[in-house]
Symmetry: C2
Subunit: 490 residues, 2 copies
């Protein structure tokens, strides 16, 4: 049924192309259904839509367009799919070196997992979390960080203010809100200094913001912060484990979902094809890579703005779009898995979660395999620490990680059985993560360019999502949206 | 004498290269002194230093290295030299479409002009300036904007505070100052809201900042603002005409100085050569353009960080350098010259300078030819207005400019005899101006990467200058510095 639909739709598409005077090559494809055919005129292979980037956004867009009977190609510079998700191995277990968690409100990602039969399981949280903020060290259960009791009132008040402001953000176009100009003129840090007196509250908010954005409170527009929180159901949802954005994990890793989508797409996904330029004219786009060119009626670029700017566009992009790409840096992040012969912190009654302003590494979480006897932690250098440690030798980073963990879990932490890291912020094809984080004055001046198509080029990627921007779920949503928009134009 | 030195130095250089096992091709060059020779091994032409960008920084570095006997090539993507300076014509007069002014403290630029025999002349300032801020319109003489008298006290106080903070900045490494973290966590705007109550003072500072940086107070780090002002001798010096950064103009245009330097460099300047990649190894750099590759022992990149990031580097740049390039957007600017049959504003007793918060276009200045009877104005869309108008049709911009001028000079402004503009922020090879303007949290985390060489690649350009960063003078200084540093390594 689906095949029949696709085929007839493809025929219609080819007829339209022929009517437009385009090369009707690839008719043979009607029997074998290859996604890519040869265009006699340009030497470029021709499809309906050329998609740049095989992360969750690009793959989702591709499969949805395919399901609607369109021909696509997904061009990926890397030798793998998945974008900001990636498979790795630590102590024989396959783990996520990139995005990994899912929350109950991330319904599009959960639907994708259900479709592929990939189960989720809850993030381990039995026992006590540790916190060490502004000189106050405590163990606690649940979601509310146990600051110095004297600071708890103000902490609740500040979180409350953030939630109120966030809920009032004008979504999905935050720059249109009445308070937008004022909120976009300040950083989270300058707002925090005016709204929190307690050093403990300030330090806690800085750490939580850093963990969510991989950037510092001094670098982030308050408006962007509030809009981002709003797109994820509030700041509390972003920082929470149970019920929040760190609620659950995927059995075997979330990267599998990208791999499964790519498998279904088959030859339509082209790896090791780095897009160098995109030229467009009245009838389509020509996307040139190091391994050849593709021609499509439309193009979809899923790379984050800072990396999309490294493609050469003809004609040149409008000032607003190019200006946006100059002002959307990626956060800085290094992700590390540390495996031990057993999860010894559990024996101490600990969940494994530590939130400290006395370490460079952190936060970290229990990430032990569900079966077997070994134990594992997963954690991050985020923001400033990631920036400082990314250019250090791996041994120095490893030493810092283990010593930081040992401060809280004891010397057993110094003897892992395995260790793996991904320095996203130094990886040439990513140059950061988890997401693009604009400073002040960007959204209000350049925000509309995030989504606004430029002729036949459309933009996707988690940064463009109306819900859960910055998360895998947002990437899926952005892929669905762009497939719908472009599909309607074909 | 200079030729002899150059030759013997070149011989020594070639011997060293041969000793390093490099192809000693280009020996023929010893008799004809071409700047560029052919390296047998790679097919790349070989020089001592490959310089990317033929603006004032690159040209200055090239001539200084040449004078020291080194061989250089300057690769320029555009079909002209001059970078952010450029020649244009309005009503038969040659004018600067980019940088144009010089102040008395800009000694390196003045020295260059003297060397080439290009005279300067004072910016016309006879008569009264017009100001229209926060609903108060006034005419005044001299350098201090005549705000509503009730606001003048606070204006002086705020300027005083800025000068005090600016003078206390830790230069040339502002991120090392005791107040750096705090100052880098806020925008000029959030500082202004706390330090100025009067709407007139706020509006005036916003306009002046916009005119200096081509960016909005909401987009600029307070620390960067203070450091930039410090590098130019204080904020008052930056905004002043007489004695300040807008003191004088060059007879025939400042662009001539770039043209003269390029003429002296001859075949060592290669136009229409867009640098696509830079690869380095233990002995040198290979710089590949759309028209061939060059090999040098060192490379100098003068492009501003946001554009330098669009080059492909092998090995990949360190995280801190790449991170900097994601966080140094160029300001937004459109420059316009409007010629009239006579300078009719002079007949009204006006200098031609108008500073208004009720126009999109502005400020503008008298730029009438020194000889003859025609009159001319030069002005800008800066920051927000430039961003908003860059993607509009030229006719709409022209209409806006003329109507804005007519509000102050009368309907005679609606009938120019000629009109020319340069939309820097839309030009693919520039994408903004006058200078790169980081938001909060950038300098303190990424600042050192502005200058720090990456292996054999050194960075220049006005952004890297210790004095007059953002000005042509700073570009010249950065070229001198990099030539000295790289020269000492050869």
């Amino acid at each position: 049924m689906r095949n029949r639909q696709r085929q007839s739709s493809r025929e219609a598409s080819l007829s339209r192309r022929a009517a437009l005077g385009m090369a009707a090559a690839g008719a043979a494809g009607l029997t074998t259904l290859p996604a890519v055919s040869q265009a006699a005129a340009t030497g470029a292979r021709t499809v309906d839509v050329v998609i740049v980037g095989a992360g969750f956004a690009g793959l989702t867009a591709a499969r949805q367009l395919r399901a609607a009977g369109r021909s696509v190609v997904v061009l990926e510079a890397d030798d793998r799919v998945g974008g900001r998700t990636k498979a790795g191995t630590v102590a024989g277990e396959t783990v996520d070196l990139g995005g990994q968690w899912v929350g109950p409100a991330q319904t599009r990602l959960l639907a994708l997992a259900k479709e592929f039969g990939v189960a989720t399981y809850p993030q381990y949280d039995k026992g006590q979390n540790l916190i060490d903020i502004a000189g106050h060290r405590a163990a606690y259960e649940g979601e509310t960080p146990a600051l110095d009791p004297a600071a708890m009132g103000e902490f609740a008040e500040v979180i409350g203010k953030i939630e109120t402001l966030s809920a009032a953000t004008s979504m999905p176009r935050p720059w249109e809100g009445a308070a937008a100009a004022e909120q976009d003129a300040q950083t989270i840090e300058s707002w925090l200094l005016l709204n929190a007196k307690s050093p403990a509250v300030r330090s806690a908010i800085r750490l939580l913001v850093r963990a969510v954005f991989s950037a510092e409170t001094s670098q982030i527009s308050l408006l962007y912060f509030l809009a981002y929180a709003s797109a994820g159901g509030g700041f509390s949802a972003l920082i929470a484990t149970r019920g929040g954005a760190q609620d659950s994990l995927f059995d075997g890793g979330v990267w599998q979902l990208a791999a499964r989508m790519a498998k279904d797409l088959g030859a339509a996904v082209v790896l090791n094809a780095k897009v160098e330029s995109i030229a467009q004219d009245g009838t389509g786009v020509t996307v040139t890579t190091n391994t050849g060119a593709w021609r499509g009626r439309y193009g979809v670029v899923t790379a984050p703005p800072a990396l999309a700017s490294r493609i050469d566009y003809t004609p040149a992009l409008p000032a607003r779009r190019d200006g946006l790409t100059q002002r959307m840096p990626l956060g800085c992040v290094i992700k590390t898995h540390i495996a031990y012969s057993r999860p010894f912190w559990r024996e101490q009654g600990l969940t494994g979660l530590v939130l400290s302003d006395r370490t460079e590494f952190g936060p970290w979480f229990d990430h032990s395999p569900r079966h077997g006897t070994t134990g594992s932690l997963v954690g991050f250098f985020d923001g400033g620490p990631a920036q400082r440690w990314a250019d250090q030798p791996p041994e120095a980073r490893r030493d810092r990680v283990l010593k930081d963990i040992a401060q809280y879990f004891g010397d057993a932490a110094l003897s892992p059985i395995d260790y793996v890291e991904e320095v996203w912020t130094r990886t040439p094809l990513h140059r950061g993560g988890y997401v693009s984080v604009p400073g002040p004055g960007v959204l209000t001046a350049f925000g509309p360019a995030l989504l606004e198509p430029v002729g036949r080029i459309h933009w996707a990627g988690t940064e463009t999502a109306e819900a859960w921007a910055g998360y895998i779920d947002g990437a899926v949503r952005s892929g669905e949206r762009v497939a719908e928009v472009v599909g309607a134009l074909l």
